[in-house]
Subunit: 423 residues, 2 copies
């Protein structure tokens, strides 16, 4: 049935300002798509529509987490004082190895999804583990929850513990089992080809990943240029590649199908040009980049070059699944860059909101805006505790982003359906 939602509606059609409909209306059809947004009911076709009035609440696009390691939910906020290598060896890899056990996986993945739900993240681009069965389980849980996700069975076969290594044949077979089950047109939950990163994949495995992506027209995710020692390592492993990105590119894993690369902290020059040319999206993970001391990604430059950018929590390098915190951190990173160089303006709230919603959402199709044709992914924000009567609508949204938490998220919608609390 067609529904029309009434609330104070805010979204970013363009990157530099908010569309604001005070006491506005958004109409959503049976397929979960927006058919119109307006200040007056008269402007919409309301015949036969159920009208749902959210009163003084804010209605905004839902959050998209463009880079997150679901099996790291247990390590959130733990051992943050360690350097990258001991942290991987003592926390990250041992935790992922536990996902050989689907009972453990189910308990943790339910916890993970529940937290995403709490914070209003309705779409995600997710790393699972190397384990096919646990990854299938995660995809099933997303389906049951009614939340959108591109979920990757992680491919890795070198420079990692024995328990997480898989040979190329197993990797291909495991992926193809998931593809057969989940690669349906228009499905909310779909597979994504996921080489962990160049150092943990042999050329043969990268080749196989590229072939899978091409054969099944599947998107690709991985890590790129997160820190300098990693970049040096890749240069050593792939001496014929002009840069880290080119190492993926030669295997068909860099924009040949829709591709998103996490971090890109040190991406510049020819790598940047290759991303631009190939339309590779950046998943900017500012909290993680702080916590792991990776650096500050040049997001303003990426925007100027026309790259698509989204935001990622990257737990457990990042500690927080609340994507609204990621907006704040992304602004703060850009302000610190501005302080240090003064050559680029810092990111403003509408810009980062656009990045987090419409720009990120483009990786899933028409997601992240309330323009006609967009899938209705939305949050209803009850900011009563933040004294809404004292502020403009834009300041109410800003205060919720800076000061709010899950307690203010009253309803969550994904592709037009309200998403109830996952069991």
């Amino acid at each position: 049935m067609k529904r029309i939602y009434k609330a104070h509606i805010l979204f970013t059609k363009q990157k530099d300002h908010f569309e604001v409909y005070e006491n506005g209306y958004v109409a959503v059809d049976d397929s979960g798509r927006v058919t119109g947004v307006a200040s007056c009911l008269d402007e919409l076709d309301s015949e036969g529509a159920e009208i749902v009035d959210f009163g003084n609440r804010l209605l905004i696009p839902a959050m998209n987490d463009m880079h997150v390691h679901a099996p790291q939910v247990h390590n959130q906020g733990v051992a943050m004082d360690l350097e990258l290598l001991p942290w991987l060896q003592n926390y990250t890899f041992p935790e992922e190895a536990k996902y050989a056990d689907t009972r453990y996986a189910e308990r943790m993945y339910r916890r993970f999804l529940h937290t995403q739900w709490l914070f209003g993240t309705m779409r995600s681009v997710v790393f699972g583990t190397v384990h096919t069965e646990s990854t299938r389980l995660l995809m099933q849980l997303y389906q049951e929850a009614g939340m959108g996700a591109l979920v990757g069975k992680v491919a890795m076969n070198r420079n990692c513990p024995e328990a997480l290594c898989e040979d190329v044949k197993e990797a291909v077979e495991g992926n193809e089992r998931l593809i057969a089950e989940f690669n349906k047109p228009d499905a909310l939950v779909r597979p994504i080809i996921t080489p962990r990163f160049v150092p943990s994949c042999t050329p043969e495995l990268l080749q196989a990943c590229g072939e899978l992506a091409k054969k099944y027209r599947l998107p690709v995710q991985s890590h790129l240029s997160e820190n300098k020692s990693e970049i040096a390592w890749v240069a050593e492993l792939e001496p014929d590649s002009e840069n880290y990105g080119a190492a993926y590119d030669q295997y068909g894993l860099f924009g040949q199908t829709p591709t998103i690369m996490a971090h890109c902290v040190w991406t510049q020059g020819k790598e940047l040009e290759l991303m631009r040319r190939n339309g590779v999206m950046v998943a900017h993970c500012p909290t993680s980049n702080f916590n792991i001391a990776s650096g500050m990604a040049p997001i303003r430059t990426f925007l100027e070059e026309g790259l698509h950018v989204g935001l990622g929590s990257d737990i457990s390098g990042g500690h927080d699944l609340n994507m609204f915190r990621m907006l704040v951190y992304a602004i703060q990173v850009s302000k610190m860059q501005y302080q240090q160089n003064h050559d680029k303006a810092f990111l403003t709230l509408p810009e980062i909101f656009w990045i987090a919603t419409k720009s990120a959402g483009s990786f899933f199709g028409k997601v992240g805006s309330f323009e006609p044709g967009y899938e209705f992914d939305a949050l209803v924000i009850d900011d009563e505790v933040l004294h809404p009567d004292e502020y403009s609508l834009l300041h109410r949204l800003e205060r919720f982003i800076y000061l709010g938490d899950d307690r203010q998220i009253l309803h969550r919608f994904c592709r037009g359906k309200e998403v109830p609390e996952p069991r």
Copy 2:
């Protein structure tokens, strides 16, 4: 009556590691001071003591906010995209002018105190406004709440709107009225001499502030070396001072009595040496330094030089009154400095916890630790929602700091007394 509290007790006696008492005990006497902490009840004098068992909860020192503008509570999380000057002129100063009205002040100050209470901040070093009556009100509210604070009537008489200017005589008289009423030995709430910063105080006003501090043996707070244009401005206004700190020093406002200076982002060389020699404390405000694009304060250097450091929320330059977030930001700032220079190790969790508790608390006397003789300022943390059974006590604390919020703070104590929710 003497009380003994049983819980998992964690605190930082020294700066580089936690004292951990699993199922430990801390004894508190009638005066609110710790008389002992131990793993077994037998090790304490428990005769006649009431024993309060907090079970599986964590018991930690309460938070201290060492730099906060109480009248900016309304501006929290608002207009964060503005540069410093338009933000001061359009938001900060107009808001402070409203505090001429004590009814407005009461409403906002109650909101402010309630938020501090929620987040477990039991001691604060606070800027009020120039208004004597509203500042008295703030002090009364702290007294009623049973929370500790050094509260400053702000001195300012140049480079500010007419409504916030006060002549030197009024400034002195207003301060003396508050001093007569509140400057009691051992009082939880006391005055602090508060020149806003050099650019907003004439030499005569700074002179008068220094004399007040000396005459009444009162502590001093102000701002120091927050950003480069401010430093250049001070150099212009006080051409005879070798540096910004020296400008305060010549008026007896730089360690002649206990002094805390907010920010010190660009403090180095002779200014740093003067702070060290005079024992001036730094209030590090990492969130504010990000939001206003001030820079990254060299906290590791300050520690190496033996300076005392505490943490400040600095709302509304900072957006958050939750001091636990400030710990996370302070670690992240130091990690970014580490990434950029690699010359100094980043701050670890025990170090930043020590800074936020025992180091900061030293400005109030013996506050911020559970060693015998310390005033019992404490929080009881119920981290049930963070799956405590799966983690060590140290990781439980780390997870609460990184992931928790006010919902996990079950009890708050200041100087031995439980602090109920302020009305």
